[in-house]
């Protein structure tokens, strides 16, 4: 049996497996840390900054999804300051692109929307960016709406790590970053796409959806990704 390391999360001492991240250890012990870009079964990238936690002895905040546990680590997951930062991170996501829940296929089943509600985001304090973004409708079964994309890259990692097709990438820098399929080919023309749809299931918002679904109709099964990984023995 692997030796466990003792870490303290919100005052509670828990036994974590070496190599686990703070987020994994917390979730294994029913401790909730919000996250958008993290997905069980995929590599972690620390992109969304929602899982930031306070680690004693470290002057800055650390993302729980990429910080491994160490013996004696003491973590605070929900101080008022963390809550305030998470709210800011969510508001910035809403301000960046055109997230209109009222007409979104994923409304009611959206991870971004759920987190916003959990964090009491009732308004956005920053001016909206209102970018003019495309909707890629070229794929016969699926649709990609850049307006609703938060660049979490779950689709990128799902396609590369689970399906092995690596259709998706993030191109551009900063505010110009865009999800692209096969080096900027329209999705419908991407020859490496197997149309398996796992990217759609992994997408936390309505950015990727099956065609023909109306508002509020698109429910997803993100757990399918973690299940596939575990059935392959974590490979």
């Amino acid at each position: 049996m692997t030796e466990k390391v003792k870490v303290r999360i919100d005052g509670q001492v828990i036994a974590a497996t070496p190599g686990q991240t703070i987020l994994q250890a917390a979730r294994d012990n029913d401790k909730y840390i919000p996250a958008l870009c993290y997905m069980e079964g995929l590599s972690a990238v620390g992109a969304c900054r929602l899982c930031m936690v306070e680690v004693s002895g470290v002057a800055r905040l650390l993302p729980a999804c990429t910080t491994p546990v160490q013996e004696g680590l003491a973590v605070n997951t929900s101080s008022p300051q963390l809550q305030s930062y998470r709210k800011i991170a969510l508001e910035l996501l809403f301000a960046e692109r055109n997230h209109v829940c009222a007409v979104c296929v994923s409304s009611g089943h959206c991870e971004l929307q759920t987190l916003a509600q959990e964090h009491g985001v009732t308004y956005v304090r920053y001016p909206y960016n209102f970018p003019k973004l495309e909707v890629d409708t070229t794929h016969p079964k699926f649709v990609l709406d850049h307006n609703r994309c938060i660049l979490c890259s779950r689709c990128v990692r799902t396609c590369a790590e689970i399906e092995g097709a690596h259709v998706w990438d993030v191109a551009g820098r900063g505010i110009q970053s865009r999800l692209v399929s096969e080096l900027k080919r329209p999705w419908g023309e991407a020859t490496s796409c197997t149309s398996c749809g796992k990217c759609v299931q992994a997408c936390p918002t309505g950015a990727m959806a099956e065609k023909g679904f109306g508002v509020e109709e698109m429910t997803k099964k993100p757990a399918v990704v973690g299940r596939l990984t575990s059935m392959r023995g974590g490979r």
Partner: protein, 512 residues
Amino acid sequence: MTTKKPTSPAKKPTSPAPMDRELVAYAPAAEPAEARRPVVKKITIPHVSRIEGHARITIKLDDAGQVIDTQFHVTQIRGFEKFVEGRPYYEMPSITARICGICPISHLLASSKACDAIMAVRIPDSAAKLRELVHCAQFVQSHALSFFHLSAPDLLLGMDFDPARRNVAGLLEEHPDALRDGIALRKFGQQVIERLAKERIHPSWIVPGGVNAPFDPEAREKTLAEWPAAMAIVKRTLALWKKTLDGFPDEIATFSNFPTMYCGLVGPDGSLRLYDGNLRFIGPDGSIVADQVKPGDYANYIGEATLADSYLKAPYYKPVGYPEGIYRVGPLARLNVADRCGTPDADKELEEYRQRLGRIVQSGFHYHYARLIEATYALERMKELLDDPAILGTKARAHAGVNNLEGTGIIEAPRGTLIHHYKVDDNGAMTWANLIVATGHNNLAIGRGVLQVAKRFVDGNKIQEGALNRVSALVRAYDPCLSCSTHALGTVPLLLQLQGPDGQLLDEVRSE
């Protein structure tokens, strides 16, 4: 019926303004002779209250304080036709439903029908019946809102009633039973919508291809149990209205009382249709000028003119041209256009309506009466649909991709004919959209009606609040849906100013 000149100048100290301009359609491009005379005074009604949306009315007066011209401006721009470009077509119902919070069902239905056409599907029978049922429920709630909440303060309290109390609060004091009836009737319609579509406003139940869930038998039983009370309210209200109607001779004579063409959907037998049918146009004399026009052919018959001083376009009957091809839609038009309603009680009421007012009713004031007859029809039609076992069918949605690159959906919304016309690319992304909303069709008629009623009631030498209220009440008679907002209480600030040639304020009426 011809246009009547007002015959009772008693309410107005000066003689009635000449009515010779009435038959000249409101056309800003070709200024009428009177308008070239020096305009020394201008009255602006900056907010028309108790309507859906925002409008402004300008009344121009000559040296003697007589009304020489009026303008009806719709002051907001929505831009739906443009910003939907690029969106997948099947999102259109939920996007366009946001045009209106009172009749989102109308937009959901017209849009879904346009999408059905793009998918080239014939939706399941139960889906068509469920869509018609929810549409009838919306007619009941919307007509109740228009009659009781928005117009009853004018109709039951009086046009000259104290403006501070000329609202639903005043109704509660003076006519509590009528107000309770109105609230109960609207509630019934809204609850049926909620039972069917899960949400009262902007539901996601109506989808391209049908509806996304079949009808719950329990909801059907509940609706059937509540139905008789709703029907009793409509019958009571009709009886009340028939008694009240004769108290408004001047309003009847001047509220858009002029001959126009009319347009509405009819069934193959010429009977009234709200959800599905073909277009019929009749001339001012009632003769049928175009019949059984299929939705996809509407553009051969309806043209749209852009007005210089309003964001609302002005549709006209194309074969006649602009501006002579003025036509009206909505309850008054539908009852003029249809041969009969097709349900027993509504047909009885329609017969009495025609005996009282003639086969073709021209006065816009009778929109209110027509609205109540339509509420009767909608309730009877609901009963027929609820009694039909096919409405409980479990197949309620057809699935398909893009099979046509263009589709048109037309329904009769509570306020009139509603047209959604879409074009998509091979992938189903919207490339073009045209929406003609009921109030658009009536734009020319409202503009002309404002002039007619202003000439009769407004005296520039002394602004009477009641007179200006009549100008607003004319607009209200059309129950225009200028946007998605409701001003159910008459508390929208109303500021009327009479200005001299140099902009000097001569007189002012303000309601808080």
